[in-house]
Amino acid sequence: MTVVSLLPALSVLVPLLVAGLLIFGSLRPIAMRLAPWTLLPGFAAALLPAGGPVEFPWVFLGLRLNLDDLGRTFLLFSAPLWGLAAAYAAGYLREDRKRHRFFAYFLLAAAGNIGLIVAADLLGYYLFFAVLSVSGYGIIVHEQTPTAFQAGRVYIMLVVLGELLLFPGVALAVYECGNVPFGRLAAPLADAPHRDWIVLFTFAGFGIKAGAIPLHVWLPLAHPAAPTPASAVLSGVMIKAGLLGWLRVLPGGIVPLEAWGQTFLTLGLAAAVLGVAAGTMQSNPKTVLAYSSISQMGLMTVPLGIGMIAPAAWPYAVTAAAVYAFHHALAKSALFLGVGVARGFGGGSRRRHATILVALALPAAALAGAPLSGGAAAKAALKGVVEAAGDAAPAWVSPLLPLTAVGTTVLMLRFLFLARRLLAEPAHGPLPRSMTAAWGIVTVLATAAFAFAPGRGIREAALKAFAPAAQWASLWPLLAGLVLTAALLRTAPETLRRWENRIPPGDILVPVARVGARAAARYRAWDVAATDRAREWAAGLFKLARRAILKGEKGARRFERNVERWPAGALGVLVLIALLFAALAG
């Protein structure tokens, strides 16, 4: 075993160990300083050549780790983003007395996130997914405000729901196909007797994390409620755990799964539209970004849908989803971290405001797929899937894709507008350098990483998108979005103002929660009545039984008195036992 082959294991263990150090009061300062560096093994693993699979047969139910091509692309953004967010958090929480607690959950979640990327089979993925989900709660409710608790409650309910969906999904898959390495899972899964159940359970179970409609309701609550560095990883990185889960499990590329493909496609495009529609009405910049994530994750679902309809396009779909995830993770994290920076620089000089707005506009434009950006590359990869599918892909998909870019442009303009509003408010205190530095690095990566990133399919997509002929295709949706926004602002400013906050964060959650509360109240009323009735019955039965055992009770009472008169009672019992044995022996 070489060091390189141990890197995947180390990249999980190191954050876990440092999280463990946080238990001890005296080690906390050191542990918190180490936190950002704990993601280095993961980053190194992503950059170095693969060391091959490693097995730990004694751990859990036999743990297998492996870093394949797909995992590498995910690790390539996950490890540095968790690390940079940790560095940012050190500054962001500098006055927080409970920040060690934040770091503990943060590092646990990071270990879970890295772990699921390097997990080589479904059971391992499921394990680390649970670690990530449960510890995510700690970073969401960290600020302990009513909003945070409300977000946390919705989050944990959906985590439990996800667990209820994943358990049967994983159990069925492992029972029918064995816990085989991912590469060998698709073929038996496509023939599994309960294939559709497995797809349903894993689609919904991972869909919660990926913010798939209608399981997206926790995102607009949780992502803004968490401390900003946590929002960045939640919305940028953690959300991709759901996507990777789909990529790992879905039995694409073998037989057409027409119905599932249509479902994915429809729900994905619905999310893309709904995210923009609900997002533009928000007035909290972080909520706007959360809705943008729902919309973008919807777009990442689209290639999977096409790939399931057309098996030939499946490999392209996997690559496109990974490339899109890479791009979105960097851009979205840059934007979230930027919100904290904008807040910290509020009330400063105009020139500084302009610099920050430009720096925010870069990843925002990338999300909208501006020419020469990661977004353009991601969209080129997406188009490649449609082309590979040929006639199998529904005809309405390819004209719709640029329209989603128009929507994203409008949404990002809304975000920039709100960010400018933040800059107008006075900040409290100077901004720590770790925050600006981490934000700066992520912004640079989000803008330029596509030029040199080594992950699967990234460079190919970039080459295709950066060709001169492709520029107009990336540019016009952006321009259309700008024109549309300007026209709306010019012609109907009143209407826009009225529509602000029309949809509350969590959209469909509000009516659902109302129905839920009514059902709960009705259940409680029934419960009280039923309990009374049961009690009457029990009382009747008890009376009967009591009459029957009244005599026996007298004896029991006498026995108690004897036991109280200890040690006579104790010895009595002993003698009794001895007699019992003796009698039987005799």
């Binding site: 946390g152 944990i156 358990f167 049967p168 036991v563 104790a570 019992v573 039987l584």
Partner: protein, 498 residues
């Protein structure tokens, strides 16, 4: 009989003899009593370890004493016995330490520890009983030895709990005895044997076997607190925390569940039980109990009562695993004997710590305990997450095997039961965990113990922490040689004749 054959007897005596001596000690003889207790506990653990290694290497241990009319009092160390006897001797040691810390300077300690030792002797006897008769004897001994522990506090409430306990368990014991006598009359001395021991029952007598089965299960179901025979358990939680811990984790409730496992696998045999159509109804009963216990737990506001109802639910996982035919389900049920034990004992230790240290017994008043008692709260959290079945903790391993077993046994509805139970467990444990760690308590604590460097007495603190580590280890290191899982698979192999 060689010396090695006597090992099972020594294991029982290692707690029985200290127990008898403790009765004779004066109340103030703290050190003598502690020394006796710990010597017994450590000695038992050592003897059990020797036996476990021996059995692992293929050695057999069996001691027989003729009683009457061809009936023997017999103790043996089959792999299944060892699973339970290892659990009870580890938990006895830990609980003894906890009880020493818990009962510091309270009255009647000699009485308490005396019966405590008898209780464990009976449990180990139940674990190692090699035939039905010996099992019944130790089972009754357990009933009697536990009663003084339940009423230990001597309050009217405790005495009432004791009455209810005796009423239920004696009635259960009577049913069990009746079933055992009937079966013996039918088949001669009933020895426990892997894959069942009723092969020589004449086919003409097969008709009454289901009746006997029902009698035996009903008798055992009282202690295993199967619905509707469960009512004594939440009432008995009035007992001191170490008693509840032992009662719920290993002694009484587990003895009932273990008995059901013995009856299904080693008396009737899983094939015969299935042929007679006895397992389906048992699975339904177990499922009802799982759901009922959890729903009731959700409605409790007293922490110990909530835990008591949770026990009712969780112990039936074992019965559910037993009643589904297939190696996975059997393994899941067997491994849960250990896993439920270590998880529940952790929770009861923690509940005791909260009550003794800061007087918190109400689940709605647990705010800020994570700050005041971080290690206890952490232990509670680990055990609670384990109960829910979050990977990689012990409870998940049980749930996983039960889930696979449900698929293998062609009863996927059992997965639904497991999932609903998961949901309910989450509903009654997660709010507590949230309150402990994320809600703060503005008012000062009602301190019951002198404040020291630790959050509570070290004898109260160490046991839950050690057990929580075991809960994590049982899951994280589930595949280590001689782990509970490995051991359960070994037993499963024997029960299915492989």
């Amino acid at each position: 009989m060689t010396a090695a054959q006597w090992l099972p007897v020594f294991v029982v005596l290692s707690s029985l003899l200290p127990g008898i001596v403790i009765f004779l000690l004066r109340e103030e003889a703290y050190w003598a009593r502690t020394l006796l207790n710990l010597t017994g506990a450590v000695l038992k653990l050592a003897l059990v370890a020797v036996m476990a290694v021996g059995v692992f290497q293929g050695q057999t241990y069996e001691a027989r004493f003729p009683l009457f009319a061809g009936q023997d009092l017999a103790l043996h160390a089959a792999p299944l016995s060892l699973l339970f006897v290892v659990l009870s001797s580890v938990l006895w040691l830990v609980t003894t330490l906890y009880a020493i810390g818990y009962l510091e300077s309270s009255p009647h300690r000699s009485r308490f520890f005396g019966f405590f030792s008898l209780c464990v002797s009976a449990t180990t006897g139940i674990a190692m009983a090699a035939n039905l008769l010996s099992f019944v004897l130790f089972y009754e001994m357990l009933t009697l030895a536990t009663y003084p522990l339940v009423v230990h506090r001597g309050t009217p409430e405790a005495l009432r709990a004791g009455r209810v306990y005796l009423g239920y368990t004696l009635a259960g014991g009577a049913l069990l005895l009746l079933g055992a006598i009937w079966l013996t009359a039918l088949a001669g001395p009933v020895n426990f044997a892997e894959a069942g021991s009723l092969a020589n029952v004449p086919p003409s007598a097969r008709g009454v076997l289901p009746v006997i089965f029902v009698l035996l299960i009903a008798g055992l179901g009282v202690k295993a607190s199967l619905v509707p025979l469960h009512s004594w358990l939440p009432i008995a939680m009035i007992a001191p925390a170490p008693v509840s811990a032992l009662l719920h984790a290993v002694a009484v409730v587990k003895a009932g569940a273990f008995g059901i496992v013995r009856v299904v696998y080693d008396v009737f045999g899983v094939r015969l039980s299935a042929e007679l159509g006895l397992l389906g109804p048992l699975a339904v009963l177990a499922s009802l109990t799982i759901l009922y216990g959890s729903i009731m737990a959700l409605r409790q506001t007293d922490l110990k009562r909530r835990l008591a109802f949770s026990t009712i639910s969780q112990v039936s996982y074992i019965v559910l695993g037993t009643s589904i035919v297939g190696a996975f389900a059997t393994t899941g049920g067997l491994v849960h004997i250990v896993h439920q034990g270590i998880m529940k004992i952790t929770l009861f230790f923690c509940a005791g710590n909260f009550a003794e240290t800061v007087g918190i017994t109400d689940v709605r008043r647990m705010h800020g305990l994570g700050r005041r008692m971080p290690l206890t709260a952490a232990a509670f959290t680990v055990a609670a997450l384990g109960m829910i079945g979050i990977p990689p903790l012990a409870g998940f391993i049980s749930k996983w095997y039960l889930g696979l077993g449900a698929l293998e046994g062609g009863s996927p509805w059992a997965i639904v039961i497991l999932l609903v139970s998961t949901l309910l467990n989450a509903a009654y444990f997660l709010p507590i965990v949230n309150d402990m760690w994320f809600r703060s308590r503005p008012e000062p604590w009602d301190e019951r113990l002198p404040r020291g460097r630790l959050e509570t007495r070290w004898l109260l603190l160490a046991p839950p922490v050690v057990m929580a580590v075991l809960v994590a280890a049982a899951g994280i290191l589930a595949e280590v040689p001689m782990s509970p899982l490995e051991w359960s698979r070994l037993i499963t192999g024997l029960e299915y004749g492989r």
